[in-house]
């Protein structure tokens, strides 16, 4: 058997590799640090495989083109950073409402506003959940290694297609600009999901039918299913509606098609939690530091374990509560002023003492800082 291909790869380019592996054939974007290498990689690679890259006039146009391309029938992606994501939220909301699969990569930098273009941050964690106005349920994934970045980008596409929804991949400046030697997946090694398309005759097609799993088969333009896609609240036929009896089921569909299948979406890395009395909860690049700190502390005899959230949204309420049921203390480490710590507080029993380790000066959390915090709360 031939040896698998090992390459030194930049995080942002690992994201491109994962997207193309997953079948992404359309990219629209606008340059922004620290995400730009994703656009550059797509500009280089997509036309070679018959895909399409377009640099749009701004981020609003970028996500609009991505949604248009997805409805037309291609797997589509855009990448940006906080300021660009802020501009995109209008049409990300449109994608939620119209149930259009697409992937949005946010390589986070410090904010608010233009903030820290070249510095790391995880301060868009809540924006990934609540960016657009209105009620909807979001899916967000966050890798912590370059190898993960390939597989989590593939997973993001699979989730987007499976649930007909936008999926956000949260990277950060460290993840985007770090290089690691990774083994690229062989074709067929990782499952790639395709969009379910209608098989019924067009005259029987109900474009937003509340099917048993709430995900309606989605046709491509040109295939004979001439339906309406609108951001206005619509009934099952796609017609705009103000009827209360139509509005509630539509919004329930957006939520329940995801909430009812959380076990398909939740992905955690769990280390040394069997006997842990204290746990680190982390995600993204901070998880690298967290597991290193856990190793060091374990060697010193501290019963500490770690949970990494590969899936940040929907939040793993039940899973985290079960995993931490033996812990009396939990430390949530993140590169912001404390965003996920409040979710952890919400889902854990009140007798668990929850501590927040925060850093928001554009630098990474070091293992030493985690160990100091551990010592402080012990």
């Amino acid at each position: 058997m031939a040896q698998k291909k090992r390459v030194l790869m930049l995080g942002n380019l690992a994201c491109v590799h994962g997207a193309i592996y997953a079948g992404m054939r359309f990219y629209a974007g606008y340059p922004i640090t620290p995400s730009t290498e994703i656009a550059e990689g797509c500009a280089r690679e997509l036309p070679r495989i018959g895909g399409r890259f377009i640099q749009m006039e701004d981020e609003i146009g970028s996500i609009a083109a991505v949604v248009g391309a997805s409805i037309a029938g291609l797997k589509a992606m855009t990448a940006t950073s906080g300021p660009g994501y802020s501009l995109m939220v209008e049409n990300i909301g449109y994608a939620y409402m119209t149930e259009t699969p697409c992937v949005i990569v946010n390589v986070q930098r410090g904010g608010p506003s233009t903030g820290l273009p070249t510095k790391v941050s995880q301060s868009d964690t809540m924006q990934a959940r609540w960016g657009p106005h209105g009620d909807f349920t979001a899916i967000t994934v966050a890798p912590s290694t370059i190898s993960d970045t390939v597989s989590e980008t593939i997973r993001a596409f699979n989730l987007a297609e499976r649930f007909r929804t936008p999926v956000t991949v949260l990277l950060d400046e460290v993840m985007g600009h770090m290089r690691e030697i990774i083994t690229l997946p062989e074709p067929g090694e990782i499952e790639v999901l395709e969009r379910v398309r209608p098989t019924c005759p067009p005259e029987e097609f109900v474009p937003f039918e509340r099917t048993p799993n709430l995900v309606t088969p989605m046709p491509r333009y040109g295939d004979g299913y001439r339906y309406i896609v609108t951001g206005l609240t619509h009934d099952q036929m796609g017609f705009t509606t103000n009827k209360p009896e139509e509005i509630t089921p539509k919004l329930d569909k957006l939520r329940n098609k995801i909430e009812n299948y959380k076990e398909e979406i939740i992905k955690l890395r769990v280390e040394m939690m069997e006997d842990a009395e204290i746990a680190f909860v982390s995600y993204g690049s901070v998880s690298r530091t967290a597991f290193q700190a856990i190793d060091i502390a374990r060697k010193a005899g501290v019963k500490v374990g770690g949970v990494q959230l590969y899936t940040i949204w929907p939040f793993p309420d039940k899973e985290l509560a079960e995993l931490c049921n033996r812990c009396n203390k939990v430390i949530v480490a993140e590169l912001n002023m404390g965003q996920i710590v409040n979710e952890v507080r919400r889902v854990l029993p009140p007798d668990v003492s929850i501590h927040s380790l925060r850093r928001y000066d554009g630098e990474i959390l070091t293992p030493m800082q985690l160990l100091e915090k551990l010592e402080e709360v012990l």
Binding site: A28, P47, I60, A64, A69, R220, G222
Partner: protein, 280 residues
Amino acid sequence: MATAVKQKSDVILQYLRPHKKMPSVWCAGCGNGIIMSAIIRAVDKLGYSKDEVVMVSGIGCSSRMPIYLDFNALHTTHGRALGFATGVKFARPDLKVIVITGDGDALAIGGNHFIHACRRNIDITTILINNAIYGMTGGQGSPATPSGAFSTTTPYGNVEKHFEPCELARAAGATYVGRTTVYHATQMEKMIAGGLAHSGFAFIEAISNCQTYFGRLNRKGDAVAMIKSFKENAVMLGKAKKMSEEELEGKIVIGTLYRTEKTEFCDEYQRVIDSLQGGK
């Protein structure tokens, strides 16, 4: 005569979306219906199948049109129709993409997308319904509201200057630019057909009447009076070329104002794909 009229309405009915409960949101007398029927006749004459036509719009009175027509319909966010349409066309160059927009949608909130779609010369036919006001939100001033005109946000007369959409489109790189009015329904139909057949960005400004707001606030009379004024003030391009600037004051120059052949965006990108894949 009666038969001819019947045949014409039969064509229109073929293209209305089945099961859509009418009436439309448009006020009685609104020019949008005339434009919608001109589009239908143009598509019918060109022999396009309904399956290959995608109609994309943003927000506003004009932008409701895709909901009424039996094409692939993409009713998007305010000003962004051309961004979505660019994605559709670039992903599927085989589809015929029509964008319906209004003066507020295309020239204010969507101005950036508009000029860049023109610049790319992507094969999209854009029909801007210009009624010089925001109708759906109740009569506010738009970038097409003439200086001095009244609206609910220019209660003392508009102190701003207005855009000339056709000049803007041409300067930005559109390769087919025309202006017509809802009085000139036959010309409009031909112009739309010409835009659809043209390979590249086609821009058609359809001057329309909003008697409900623009007409009422500016004492322009009812729908009939406003449409009659389009007839009286319209000057064909050929004649306008012989007229002085003073003579053209207050006139509407109609006709295909500009037309040229330039490489189309999707074709050009396909050449890149072919050269890369051929080079393997």
